[in-house]
């Protein structure tokens, strides 16, 4: 039986959020920061996954928070507040990215899902990278570098699902794509990252992470 990857949901936190939202709507605006504080890091991560620039990501996250504050009355309780917040951040970051690259030839809105199967590299000697390794800055940097090398559509899905722990449905809603697309992209993102990180096991973490040509048929 696999250890399922589940979305985090805390009923007490949800109740607390509902209370805060009600009070903010009634005029206690100063409580808004308390409401978004648990998610501020995630907002930055979501923006960074799209913009890949610290300053731009921070600015987009800030702007998203201001927009959420201005439109708090439009939030509907049927969705999670965090999902709504991340959705605003994703839209803000995408808008900035589109604006920045409007003159470029590169297609930045490639939302098509690749046909065909991804063939993972034959790395039969995979050994687990322990969580303790994350204490090391160079390991975190390698992981971040691998993530940054993914294509936009894979990175977005992976960050929302596996870094932010949104559910498949929430990820789909946040990105405005189908759950089937989320699953397809998530599979590829996970396998690509596994292939990118595997060379590190042989002691080659100091080298630059890169795909081997022919190993990614998408």
């Amino acid at each position: 039986m696999p250890e399922a990857v589940t979305s985090l949901e805390n009923p007490a936190q949800k109740f607390n959020e509902e209370m805060l939202i009600r009070r903010i709507r009634d005029g206690e605006h100063e409580l808004f920061y308390e409401l978004i504080r648990p998610y501020e890091r995630r907002l930055y991560a979501a923006a960074f996954s799209i913009l890949r620039n610290e300053a731009d990501a921070e600015d987009a996250a800030q702007e998203a928070v201001l927009k959420a504050f201005r439109h708090i009355r439009q939030f509907r309780a049927e969705s999670r507040f965090s999902t709504w917040l991340i959705q605003i951040t994703v839209n803000e970051a995408r808008m900035r990215r589109r604006k920045d690259r409007s003159g470029m030839m590169e297609s930045i809105d490639d939302t098509r899902d690749d046909e065909g199967n991804y063939v993972p590299r034959d790395l039969a000697d995979w050994h687990e990278i322990p969580s303790e390794a994350l204490e090391r800055k160079e390991i975190r940097e390698k992981l971040a570098q691998a993530l940054a090398s993914l294509g936009q559509k894979y990175r977005e899905v992976f960050v929302l699902r596996d870094v932010q722990h949104l559910s498949i449905d929430e990820t789909a809603k946040s990105l405005g794509i189908s759950t089937a697309s989320v699953k397809t992209r998530l599979l590829r993102a996970r396998l690509m990252l596994r292939d990118l990180l595997a060379p590190g096991l042989g002691g080659s973490w100091t080298g630059k992470l890169s795909f081997e040509k022919g190993a990614k048929p998408w």
Binding site: M1, P2, E3, A4, V5, G27, H29, E30, F32, Y33, R37, E40, R41, R42, Y44, A45, E54, E58, A61, Q62, V65, L66, F69, N117, Y118, V119, P120, D122, L123, A124, D125, W126, E128, I129, S131, A133, L134, E135, R140, L143, A144, L147, F158, D162, V163, H165, I168, K183, L186, L187, R190, L191, L193, R194, D195, L197, A198
Partner: protein, 178 residues
């Protein structure tokens, strides 16, 4: 049910999500137990999910929280007055306005004079008929007074009314009342 390596790779992500039907899951587990490559793919993929799901992977710039909080505070509208605050402010306004009006009326007790430099009438019989003109500042007891202008539009009214309208006695024809 027997599954191939390709089928395992295609479903490996759903398998980690526990989103495959029981028959397929069982077939995948049988296959993985006997396949080193698929075991490595499963272990590696699970490890990727585990590592990136760690909170430590979200690295934010130094001072990010403080800057976010400050920008939010700057964009907040000014604190709204509470109901009690509004009531106190309204009461204070009424009090100030009332005091001003009271002070004004106790000083003059009369209508505002048309000429700030003129002296108010003293002892003019209220029923005395006088003449005034629309653009003038004085009321006159004599129609022929040289200081009466615009005779075409002059009116004859009681001195009391003239005073109420801010006219003052003519210093030529009514100097006895000054």
């Amino acid at each position: 049910m027997v599954v191939s390596c390709e089928q395992v790779w295609r479903e490996i992500s759903n398998y980690l999500e526990d989103d495959v039907d029981p028959l397929l899951r069982e077939a995948m587990e049988i296959h993985i137990r006997g396949c080193k490559h698929c075991t490595a793919v499963l272990d590696g993929t699970r490890n990727v999910v585990h590592l990136y799901g760690d909170e430590r992977m979200i690295d934010v710039p130094v001072g990010y929280s403080q800057r976010l909080q400050r920008r939010l505070e700057e964009s907040m509208p000014r604190p709204r007055r509470t109901f009690l605050g509004w009531m106190v402010a309204a009461a204070a306004t009424v009090l100030v306005a009332g005091t001003y009006e009271l002070a004004r009326s106790s000083v003059s007790g009369e209508a505002e004079l048309r000429s700030p430099h003129a002296q108010p009438a003293k002892g003019v019989p209220p029923g005395l008929l006088v003449v005034v003109s629309p653009g003038g500042k004085l009321f006159h007891s004599k129609v022929g007074c040289p200081l009466l202008h615009d005779r075409a539009h002059m009116r004859t009214i009681a001195a009391r009314e003239a005073e109420n309208e801010g006219y003052t006695p003519c210093d030529r024809c009514m100097k006895q009342y000054l």
